[in-house]
Symmetry: C2
Subunit: 246 residues, 2 copies
Protein backbone atom coordinates (compact mmCIF):
# COMPACT_ATOMS: atom_id res chain seq x y z
CA UNK A 1 0.00 0.00 0.00
CA UNK A 2 1.23 3.48 -0.92
CA UNK A 3 1.79 5.94 1.90
CA UNK A 4 -1.16 8.20 2.62
CA UNK A 5 -3.63 6.57 0.24
CA UNK A 6 -5.86 3.53 -0.15
CA UNK A 7 -7.59 1.90 -3.12
CA UNK A 8 -11.40 1.73 -3.33
CA UNK A 9 -13.79 0.38 -5.96
CA UNK A 10 -15.53 3.18 -7.81
CA UNK A 11 -18.23 3.45 -10.46
CA UNK A 12 -16.99 5.97 -13.03
CA UNK A 13 -19.82 7.74 -14.84
CA UNK A 14 -19.04 9.70 -17.97
CA UNK A 15 -21.95 11.09 -19.97
CA UNK A 16 -24.17 8.02 -20.37
CA UNK A 17 -21.37 5.53 -19.80
CA UNK A 18 -20.64 3.60 -16.60
CA UNK A 19 -17.47 1.68 -15.74
CA UNK A 20 -16.23 0.06 -12.60
CA UNK A 21 -12.63 0.81 -11.65
CA UNK A 22 -10.37 1.11 -8.63
CA UNK A 23 -9.22 4.54 -7.48
CA UNK A 24 -6.76 5.76 -4.88
CA UNK A 25 -8.24 7.90 -2.11
CA UNK A 26 -6.29 10.03 0.38
CA UNK A 27 -6.11 8.54 3.87
CA UNK A 28 -7.44 10.47 6.85
CA UNK A 29 -5.66 9.54 10.06
CA UNK A 30 -6.46 10.84 13.57
CA UNK A 31 -3.23 11.85 15.33
CA UNK A 32 -3.36 12.73 19.01
CA UNK A 33 -0.60 15.08 20.11
CA UNK A 34 0.63 14.53 23.65
CA UNK A 35 2.98 17.12 25.15
CA UNK A 36 4.79 16.01 28.33
CA UNK A 37 2.12 13.36 29.10
CA UNK A 38 -0.76 15.81 28.57
CA UNK A 39 -3.14 15.30 25.63
CA UNK A 40 -3.37 18.53 23.61
CA UNK A 41 -5.53 17.82 20.57
CA UNK A 42 -6.35 15.33 17.83
CA UNK A 43 -5.56 16.35 14.26
CA UNK A 44 -6.98 14.62 11.20
CA UNK A 45 -4.01 14.26 8.87
CA UNK A 46 -2.20 12.28 6.21
CA UNK A 47 -0.15 9.61 8.05
CA UNK A 48 3.35 10.54 6.97
CA UNK A 49 5.99 12.94 8.32
CA UNK A 50 4.20 12.79 11.68
CA UNK A 51 7.20 14.03 13.68
CA UNK A 52 7.34 17.09 11.42
CA UNK A 53 3.63 17.65 11.92
CA UNK A 54 3.94 17.40 15.70
CA UNK A 55 6.91 19.79 15.87
CA UNK A 56 5.32 22.24 13.43
CA UNK A 57 1.96 22.18 15.21
CA UNK A 58 3.61 22.84 18.58
CA UNK A 59 5.65 25.71 17.13
CA UNK A 60 2.71 27.27 15.23
CA UNK A 61 0.58 27.10 18.37
CA UNK A 62 3.31 28.71 20.47
CA UNK A 63 4.10 25.72 22.72
CA UNK A 64 7.72 25.53 21.56
CA UNK A 65 10.04 27.89 19.74
CA UNK A 66 12.91 25.78 18.52
CA UNK A 67 14.50 22.34 18.31
CA UNK A 68 16.71 22.94 21.34
CA UNK A 69 13.61 22.78 23.59
CA UNK A 70 12.66 19.28 22.41
CA UNK A 71 13.96 16.28 24.37
CA UNK A 72 12.29 13.61 22.25
CA UNK A 73 9.47 12.77 19.84
CA UNK A 74 7.98 9.28 19.88
CA UNK A 75 5.52 8.24 17.18
CA UNK A 76 3.02 5.49 18.03
CA UNK A 77 1.52 4.70 14.62
CA UNK A 78 -0.69 1.90 15.88
CA UNK A 79 -2.52 4.01 18.40
CA UNK A 80 -2.34 7.25 16.40
CA UNK A 81 -0.35 9.12 18.97
CA UNK A 82 2.75 11.25 19.02
CA UNK A 83 4.44 12.01 22.35
CA UNK A 84 6.63 15.07 22.52
CA UNK A 85 8.80 15.70 25.55
CA UNK A 86 10.47 19.03 26.19
CA UNK A 87 13.58 19.57 28.31
CA UNK A 88 11.80 21.97 30.62
CA UNK A 89 8.22 21.13 31.51
CA UNK A 90 6.12 24.14 32.26
CA UNK A 91 2.38 24.17 32.86
CA UNK A 92 0.51 23.85 29.57
CA UNK A 93 -1.45 26.95 28.58
CA UNK A 94 -4.51 25.44 26.87
CA UNK A 95 -5.59 28.92 25.77
CA UNK A 96 -2.87 28.65 23.08
CA UNK A 97 -5.01 26.04 21.32
CA UNK A 98 -7.75 28.56 20.58
CA UNK A 99 -5.75 31.79 20.27
CA UNK A 100 -5.24 33.35 16.87
CA UNK A 101 -2.06 35.29 17.66
CA UNK A 102 0.03 32.74 19.54
CA UNK A 103 2.96 35.10 19.89
CA UNK A 104 4.21 38.54 19.00
CA UNK A 105 4.82 38.84 15.28
CA UNK A 106 7.35 41.31 14.00
CA UNK A 107 7.46 43.24 10.78
CA UNK A 108 9.23 41.43 7.91
CA UNK A 109 12.26 43.52 6.95
CA UNK A 110 13.72 41.09 4.43
CA UNK A 111 15.03 42.75 1.26
CA UNK A 112 14.55 39.51 -0.74
CA UNK A 113 13.79 40.14 -4.41
CA UNK A 114 12.90 37.50 -7.02
CA UNK A 115 12.39 37.71 -10.76
CA UNK A 116 8.89 36.89 -11.93
CA UNK A 117 10.35 34.16 -14.17
CA UNK A 118 11.88 32.57 -11.02
CA UNK A 119 8.46 32.57 -9.36
CA UNK A 120 6.89 30.75 -12.33
CA UNK A 121 9.76 28.28 -12.32
CA UNK A 122 9.32 27.55 -8.58
CA UNK A 123 5.59 26.99 -9.18
CA UNK A 124 6.38 24.51 -11.98
CA UNK A 125 8.69 22.57 -9.66
CA UNK A 126 6.11 22.69 -6.85
CA UNK A 127 3.35 21.31 -9.02
CA UNK A 128 5.52 18.41 -10.12
CA UNK A 129 6.27 17.44 -6.52
CA UNK A 130 3.15 15.90 -5.03
CA UNK A 131 2.45 12.35 -6.23
CA UNK A 132 -0.20 12.09 -3.50
CA UNK A 133 -2.15 14.97 -5.04
CA UNK A 134 -1.64 13.70 -8.58
CA UNK A 135 -3.02 10.30 -7.63
CA UNK A 136 -5.78 11.13 -5.12
CA UNK A 137 -6.69 14.71 -6.11
CA UNK A 138 -7.42 15.21 -2.45
CA UNK A 139 -4.47 16.71 -0.58
CA UNK A 140 -2.82 20.06 -0.04
CA UNK A 141 0.86 20.76 -0.53
CA UNK A 142 3.26 23.32 0.92
CA UNK A 143 6.92 24.02 0.19
CA UNK A 144 9.62 26.29 1.58
CA UNK A 145 11.81 27.76 -1.15
CA UNK A 146 14.75 30.03 -1.80
CA UNK A 147 14.65 32.09 -5.02
CA UNK A 148 16.22 29.15 -6.83
CA UNK A 149 14.97 25.91 -5.36
CA UNK A 150 12.57 24.01 -3.14
CA UNK A 151 14.12 23.36 0.29
CA UNK A 152 11.36 21.41 2.06
CA UNK A 153 8.03 20.01 0.86
CA UNK A 154 5.07 18.24 2.45
CA UNK A 155 1.55 17.24 1.65
CA UNK A 156 -1.47 16.53 3.82
CA UNK A 157 -5.26 16.37 3.59
CA UNK A 158 -5.30 19.56 5.74
CA UNK A 159 -3.82 22.78 4.37
CA UNK A 160 -2.72 23.83 7.86
CA UNK A 161 -1.09 20.45 8.44
CA UNK A 162 0.87 20.72 5.18
CA UNK A 163 2.29 24.07 6.33
CA UNK A 164 2.99 22.76 9.84
CA UNK A 165 4.84 19.74 8.41
CA UNK A 166 7.12 22.03 6.42
CA UNK A 167 7.78 24.25 9.44
CA UNK A 168 8.27 21.20 11.67
CA UNK A 169 10.85 19.79 9.28
CA UNK A 170 12.62 23.18 9.22
CA UNK A 171 12.71 23.20 13.01
CA UNK A 172 13.96 19.63 13.36
CA UNK A 173 16.52 19.90 10.55
CA UNK A 174 17.71 23.46 11.21
CA UNK A 175 16.51 24.92 7.92
CA UNK A 176 16.07 28.68 8.31
CA UNK A 177 12.68 30.05 7.21
CA UNK A 178 13.77 33.67 7.62
CA UNK A 179 13.34 35.68 4.43
CA UNK A 180 12.23 32.62 2.45
CA UNK A 181 9.32 31.93 0.09
CA UNK A 182 6.41 29.63 1.07
CA UNK A 183 4.26 28.03 -1.63
CA UNK A 184 0.85 26.60 -0.73
CA UNK A 185 -1.86 24.93 -2.76
CA UNK A 186 -4.52 26.16 -0.33
CA UNK A 187 -6.34 29.41 0.18
CA UNK A 188 -4.56 32.07 2.22
CA UNK A 189 -6.72 32.96 5.21
CA UNK A 190 -5.68 35.10 8.16
CA UNK A 191 -4.60 31.98 10.05
CA UNK A 192 -2.30 30.91 7.22
CA UNK A 193 -0.88 34.43 6.93
CA UNK A 194 -0.17 34.60 10.68
CA UNK A 195 1.46 31.17 10.57
CA UNK A 196 3.94 32.21 7.88
CA UNK A 197 4.49 35.64 9.49
CA UNK A 198 5.49 33.93 12.75
CA UNK A 199 8.26 32.10 10.88
CA UNK A 200 9.43 35.29 9.11
CA UNK A 201 8.52 34.20 5.59
CA UNK A 202 8.91 37.12 3.10
CA UNK A 203 6.75 35.87 0.22
CA UNK A 204 3.68 33.64 0.37
CA UNK A 205 2.62 32.24 -2.97
CA UNK A 206 -0.67 30.38 -3.42
CA UNK A 207 -2.40 28.59 -6.27
CA UNK A 208 -5.68 29.66 -4.66
CA UNK A 209 -7.35 32.88 -3.49
CA UNK A 210 -6.55 35.01 -0.43
CA UNK A 211 -9.14 36.45 1.96
CA UNK A 212 -9.45 40.15 2.76
CA UNK A 213 -7.91 39.65 6.21
CA UNK A 214 -4.89 37.89 4.70
CA UNK A 215 -4.35 40.83 2.33
CA UNK A 216 -4.66 43.35 5.20
CA UNK A 217 -2.31 41.43 7.50
CA UNK A 218 0.23 40.88 4.71
CA UNK A 219 0.25 44.66 4.17
CA UNK A 220 0.62 45.24 7.92
CA UNK A 221 3.60 42.86 8.26
CA UNK A 222 5.16 43.79 4.86
CA UNK A 223 4.81 40.27 3.50
CA UNK A 224 4.47 39.83 -0.26
CA UNK A 225 1.17 37.99 -0.84
CA UNK A 226 0.66 36.34 -4.23
CA UNK A 227 -2.52 34.47 -5.18
CA UNK A 228 -3.89 32.58 -8.19
CA UNK A 229 -0.37 31.57 -9.27
CA UNK A 230 -1.25 29.28 -12.17
CA UNK A 231 0.74 28.62 -15.32
CA UNK A 232 2.41 31.89 -16.30
CA UNK A 233 0.16 34.26 -14.35
CA UNK A 234 -0.31 35.44 -10.77
CA UNK A 235 -1.88 38.25 -8.74
CA UNK A 236 0.41 40.18 -6.38
CA UNK A 237 -1.66 41.81 -3.62
CA UNK A 238 0.99 43.40 -1.40
CA UNK A 239 4.67 44.47 -1.45
CA UNK A 240 4.99 43.80 -5.16
CA UNK A 241 8.49 45.39 -5.19
CA UNK A 242 9.87 41.98 -4.11
CA UNK A 243 8.89 40.52 -7.52
CA UNK A 244 10.89 42.21 -10.26
CA UNK A 245 10.19 41.96 -13.98
CA UNK A 246 13.70 40.77 -14.86
CA UNK B 1 -19.87 47.28 -1.26
CA UNK B 2 -20.98 43.81 -2.30
CA UNK B 3 -21.83 41.35 0.45
CA UNK B 4 -18.96 39.11 1.53
CA UNK B 5 -16.23 40.71 -0.58
CA UNK B 6 -13.99 43.77 -0.75
CA UNK B 7 -11.93 45.37 -3.53
CA UNK B 8 -8.12 45.53 -3.29
CA UNK B 9 -5.44 46.88 -5.64
CA UNK B 10 -3.51 44.05 -7.28
CA UNK B 11 -0.53 43.77 -9.61
CA UNK B 12 -1.46 41.23 -12.29
CA UNK B 13 1.55 39.44 -13.76
CA UNK B 14 1.14 37.47 -16.96
CA UNK B 15 4.24 36.06 -18.62
CA UNK B 16 6.49 39.12 -18.78
CA UNK B 17 3.66 41.63 -18.54
CA UNK B 18 2.56 43.57 -15.44
CA UNK B 19 -0.69 45.50 -14.97
CA UNK B 20 -2.27 47.15 -11.98
CA UNK B 21 -5.93 46.38 -11.44
CA UNK B 22 -8.54 46.11 -8.70
CA UNK B 23 -9.82 42.69 -7.65
CA UNK B 24 -12.55 41.48 -5.34
CA UNK B 25 -11.40 39.36 -2.40
CA UNK B 26 -13.62 37.24 -0.12
CA UNK B 27 -14.21 38.77 3.31
CA UNK B 28 -13.22 36.84 6.43
CA UNK B 29 -15.35 37.78 9.43
CA UNK B 30 -14.97 36.52 13.01
CA UNK B 31 -18.39 35.52 14.39
CA UNK B 32 -18.68 34.65 18.07
CA UNK B 33 -21.56 32.32 18.87
CA UNK B 34 -23.18 32.88 22.25
CA UNK B 35 -25.68 30.31 23.51
CA UNK B 36 -27.85 31.43 26.43
CA UNK B 37 -25.28 34.07 27.49
CA UNK B 38 -22.36 31.64 27.31
CA UNK B 39 -19.67 32.13 24.66
CA UNK B 40 -19.20 28.89 22.69
CA UNK B 41 -16.72 29.58 19.91
CA UNK B 42 -15.58 32.06 17.27
CA UNK B 43 -15.96 31.02 13.64
CA UNK B 44 -14.18 32.72 10.74
CA UNK B 45 -16.88 33.07 8.09
CA UNK B 46 -18.36 35.03 5.23
CA UNK B 47 -20.60 37.69 6.81
CA UNK B 48 -23.97 36.77 5.35
CA UNK B 49 -26.75 34.38 6.40
CA UNK B 50 -25.36 34.55 9.94
CA UNK B 51 -28.56 33.33 11.59
CA UNK B 52 -28.45 30.25 9.36
CA UNK B 53 -24.82 29.69 10.28
CA UNK B 54 -25.56 29.96 14.00
CA UNK B 55 -28.53 27.57 13.85
CA UNK B 56 -26.66 25.12 11.62
CA UNK B 57 -23.54 25.19 13.76
CA UNK B 58 -25.56 24.54 16.94
CA UNK B 59 -27.42 21.66 15.27
CA UNK B 60 -24.29 20.10 13.73
CA UNK B 61 -22.53 20.28 17.10
CA UNK B 62 -25.49 18.67 18.89
CA UNK B 63 -26.53 21.68 21.01
CA UNK B 64 -29.99 21.87 19.43
CA UNK B 65 -32.10 19.48 17.39
CA UNK B 66 -34.78 21.61 15.81
CA UNK B 67 -36.34 25.02 15.42
CA UNK B 68 -38.88 24.46 18.17
CA UNK B 69 -36.07 24.63 20.76
CA UNK B 70 -35.00 28.12 19.67
CA UNK B 71 -36.53 31.15 21.44
CA UNK B 72 -34.62 33.81 19.53
CA UNK B 73 -31.53 34.63 17.45
CA UNK B 74 -30.05 38.12 17.64
CA UNK B 75 -27.29 39.14 15.23
CA UNK B 76 -24.90 41.89 16.34
CA UNK B 77 -23.04 42.66 13.11
CA UNK B 78 -20.97 45.47 14.59
CA UNK B 79 -19.45 43.38 17.33
CA UNK B 80 -19.39 40.13 15.32
CA UNK B 81 -21.67 38.25 17.67
CA UNK B 82 -24.77 36.13 17.37
CA UNK B 83 -26.81 35.41 20.49
CA UNK B 84 -29.01 32.33 20.44
CA UNK B 85 -31.51 31.72 23.20
CA UNK B 86 -33.25 28.40 23.68
CA UNK B 87 -36.59 27.86 25.42
CA UNK B 88 -35.09 25.48 27.95
CA UNK B 89 -31.64 26.32 29.23
CA UNK B 90 -29.62 23.32 30.25
CA UNK B 91 -26.00 23.31 31.28
CA UNK B 92 -23.75 23.60 28.23
CA UNK B 93 -21.70 20.51 27.47
CA UNK B 94 -18.47 22.00 26.12
CA UNK B 95 -17.27 18.53 25.17
CA UNK B 96 -19.65 18.76 22.19
CA UNK B 97 -17.33 21.36 20.65
CA UNK B 98 -14.53 18.85 20.23
CA UNK B 99 -16.48 15.61 19.74
CA UNK B 100 -16.59 14.02 16.34
CA UNK B 101 -19.81 12.05 16.78
CA UNK B 102 -22.11 14.61 18.36
CA UNK B 103 -25.08 12.26 18.38
CA UNK B 104 -26.20 8.83 17.37
CA UNK B 105 -26.40 8.51 13.61
CA UNK B 106 -28.73 6.02 12.07
CA UNK B 107 -28.49 4.08 8.87
CA UNK B 108 -29.91 5.89 5.81
CA UNK B 109 -32.82 3.78 4.54
CA UNK B 110 -33.99 6.18 1.84
CA UNK B 111 -34.94 4.52 -1.44
CA UNK B 112 -34.22 7.73 -3.38
CA UNK B 113 -33.05 7.10 -6.94
CA UNK B 114 -31.87 9.70 -9.45
CA UNK B 115 -30.94 9.47 -13.11
CA UNK B 116 -27.32 10.29 -13.89
CA UNK B 117 -28.52 13.02 -16.28
CA UNK B 118 -30.39 14.60 -13.35
CA UNK B 119 -27.19 14.63 -11.29
CA UNK B 120 -25.30 16.42 -14.07
CA UNK B 121 -28.14 18.90 -14.42
CA UNK B 122 -28.11 19.65 -10.66
CA UNK B 123 -24.34 20.22 -10.82
CA UNK B 124 -24.82 22.68 -13.71
CA UNK B 125 -27.38 24.63 -11.69
CA UNK B 126 -25.13 24.53 -8.60
CA UNK B 127 -22.14 25.90 -10.46
CA UNK B 128 -24.17 28.80 -11.82
CA UNK B 129 -25.34 29.78 -8.33
CA UNK B 130 -22.41 31.33 -6.51
CA UNK B 131 -21.57 34.88 -7.64
CA UNK B 132 -19.22 35.16 -4.64
CA UNK B 133 -17.12 32.26 -5.93
CA UNK B 134 -17.24 33.51 -9.53
CA UNK B 135 -15.97 36.93 -8.44
CA UNK B 136 -13.52 36.12 -5.64
CA UNK B 137 -12.51 32.52 -6.50
CA UNK B 138 -12.19 32.04 -2.77
CA UNK B 139 -15.33 30.54 -1.24
CA UNK B 140 -17.03 27.19 -0.86
CA UNK B 141 -20.64 26.50 -1.76
CA UNK B 142 -23.18 23.96 -0.57
CA UNK B 143 -26.73 23.25 -1.70
CA UNK B 144 -29.57 20.98 -0.61
CA UNK B 145 -31.45 19.50 -3.56
CA UNK B 146 -34.29 17.21 -4.51
CA UNK B 147 -33.85 15.12 -7.69
CA UNK B 148 -35.19 18.06 -9.69
CA UNK B 149 -34.10 21.30 -8.11
CA UNK B 150 -31.97 23.21 -5.65
CA UNK B 151 -33.90 23.88 -2.43
CA UNK B 152 -31.37 25.86 -0.37
CA UNK B 153 -27.92 27.24 -1.20
CA UNK B 154 -25.16 29.04 0.71
CA UNK B 155 -21.57 30.05 0.30
CA UNK B 156 -18.82 30.75 2.79
CA UNK B 157 -15.02 30.92 3.00
CA UNK B 158 -15.25 27.76 5.18
CA UNK B 159 -16.52 24.51 3.66
CA UNK B 160 -18.04 23.49 7.01
CA UNK B 161 -19.72 26.87 7.38
CA UNK B 162 -21.29 26.59 3.91
CA UNK B 163 -22.84 23.23 4.93
CA UNK B 164 -23.94 24.57 8.32
CA UNK B 165 -25.61 27.58 6.67
CA UNK B 166 -27.65 25.27 4.44
CA UNK B 167 -28.64 23.08 7.39
CA UNK B 168 -29.40 26.17 9.51
CA UNK B 169 -31.70 27.53 6.85
CA UNK B 170 -33.43 24.13 6.60
CA UNK B 171 -33.96 24.13 10.37
CA UNK B 172 -35.25 27.72 10.55
CA UNK B 173 -37.47 27.41 7.47
CA UNK B 174 -38.72 23.87 8.00
CA UNK B 175 -37.15 22.39 4.89
CA UNK B 176 -36.76 18.62 5.35
CA UNK B 177 -33.27 17.25 4.67
CA UNK B 178 -34.39 13.63 4.98
CA UNK B 179 -33.60 11.60 1.86
CA UNK B 180 -32.28 14.65 0.00
CA UNK B 181 -29.11 15.34 -2.02
CA UNK B 182 -26.33 17.64 -0.72
CA UNK B 183 -23.88 19.22 -3.17
CA UNK B 184 -20.60 20.67 -1.91
CA UNK B 185 -17.68 22.32 -3.64
CA UNK B 186 -15.32 21.11 -0.91
CA UNK B 187 -13.57 17.86 -0.17
CA UNK B 188 -15.58 15.21 1.68
CA UNK B 189 -13.76 14.34 4.90
CA UNK B 190 -15.13 12.21 7.73
CA UNK B 191 -16.42 15.36 9.46
CA UNK B 192 -18.38 16.41 6.38
CA UNK B 193 -19.75 12.88 5.95
CA UNK B 194 -20.89 12.74 9.59
CA UNK B 195 -22.48 16.16 9.28
CA UNK B 196 -24.65 15.10 6.33
CA UNK B 197 -25.37 11.68 7.89
CA UNK B 198 -26.76 13.41 11.01
CA UNK B 199 -29.30 15.25 8.81
CA UNK B 200 -30.25 12.03 6.95
CA UNK B 201 -28.94 13.10 3.55
CA UNK B 202 -29.05 10.17 1.06
CA UNK B 203 -26.58 11.39 -1.56
CA UNK B 204 -23.55 13.62 -1.09
CA UNK B 205 -22.12 15.00 -4.30
CA UNK B 206 -18.80 16.86 -4.39
CA UNK B 207 -16.74 18.64 -7.02
CA UNK B 208 -13.66 17.58 -5.05
CA UNK B 209 -12.15 14.37 -3.67
CA UNK B 210 -13.30 12.25 -0.71
CA UNK B 211 -11.00 10.85 1.97
CA UNK B 212 -10.75 7.14 2.81
CA UNK B 213 -12.69 7.66 6.07
CA UNK B 214 -15.52 9.42 4.21
CA UNK B 215 -15.79 6.45 1.82
CA UNK B 216 -15.81 3.95 4.71
CA UNK B 217 -18.40 5.88 6.73
CA UNK B 218 -20.61 6.41 3.66
CA UNK B 219 -20.56 2.63 3.14
CA UNK B 220 -21.36 2.07 6.84
CA UNK B 221 -24.36 4.44 6.82
CA UNK B 222 -25.52 3.51 3.27
CA UNK B 223 -25.03 7.01 1.93
CA UNK B 224 -24.25 7.43 -1.76
CA UNK B 225 -20.92 9.27 -1.98
CA UNK B 226 -20.03 10.91 -5.30
CA UNK B 227 -16.76 12.76 -5.89
CA UNK B 228 -15.05 14.64 -8.73
CA UNK B 229 -18.42 15.64 -10.21
CA UNK B 230 -17.23 17.90 -13.01
CA UNK B 231 -18.86 18.54 -16.38
CA UNK B 232 -20.38 15.26 -17.51
CA UNK B 233 -18.37 12.92 -15.31
CA UNK B 234 -18.31 11.76 -11.69
CA UNK B 235 -16.99 8.96 -9.47
CA UNK B 236 -19.52 7.05 -7.38
CA UNK B 237 -17.79 5.43 -4.39
CA UNK B 238 -20.68 3.86 -2.48
CA UNK B 239 -24.31 2.80 -2.92
CA UNK B 240 -24.22 3.44 -6.65
CA UNK B 241 -27.70 1.85 -7.07
CA UNK B 242 -29.17 5.25 -6.18
CA UNK B 243 -27.84 6.68 -9.46
CA UNK B 244 -29.52 4.98 -12.42
CA UNK B 245 -28.38 5.20 -16.03
CA UNK B 246 -31.75 6.42 -17.32
Amino acid sequence: MKEGMEGFPVLKVQGEGRNTARDMVATEFPLTIILNEEELTTLLCTPKDLEYLAAGFLASSGFIEGREEIKGIIIDDERGMVRVETKETKEIDRELLSRRYPQAISHINSGLKVKQGQVFSLMDKFQGLSPLFRITGGVHSAALCSEHEILAHSDDIGRHNALDKVFGRCILEDISTDGRIMITSGRVSQEVLLKVAMRKISIILSISAPTDMAVKLAAAFSITLIGFARGRSMNIYTESWRVVAR
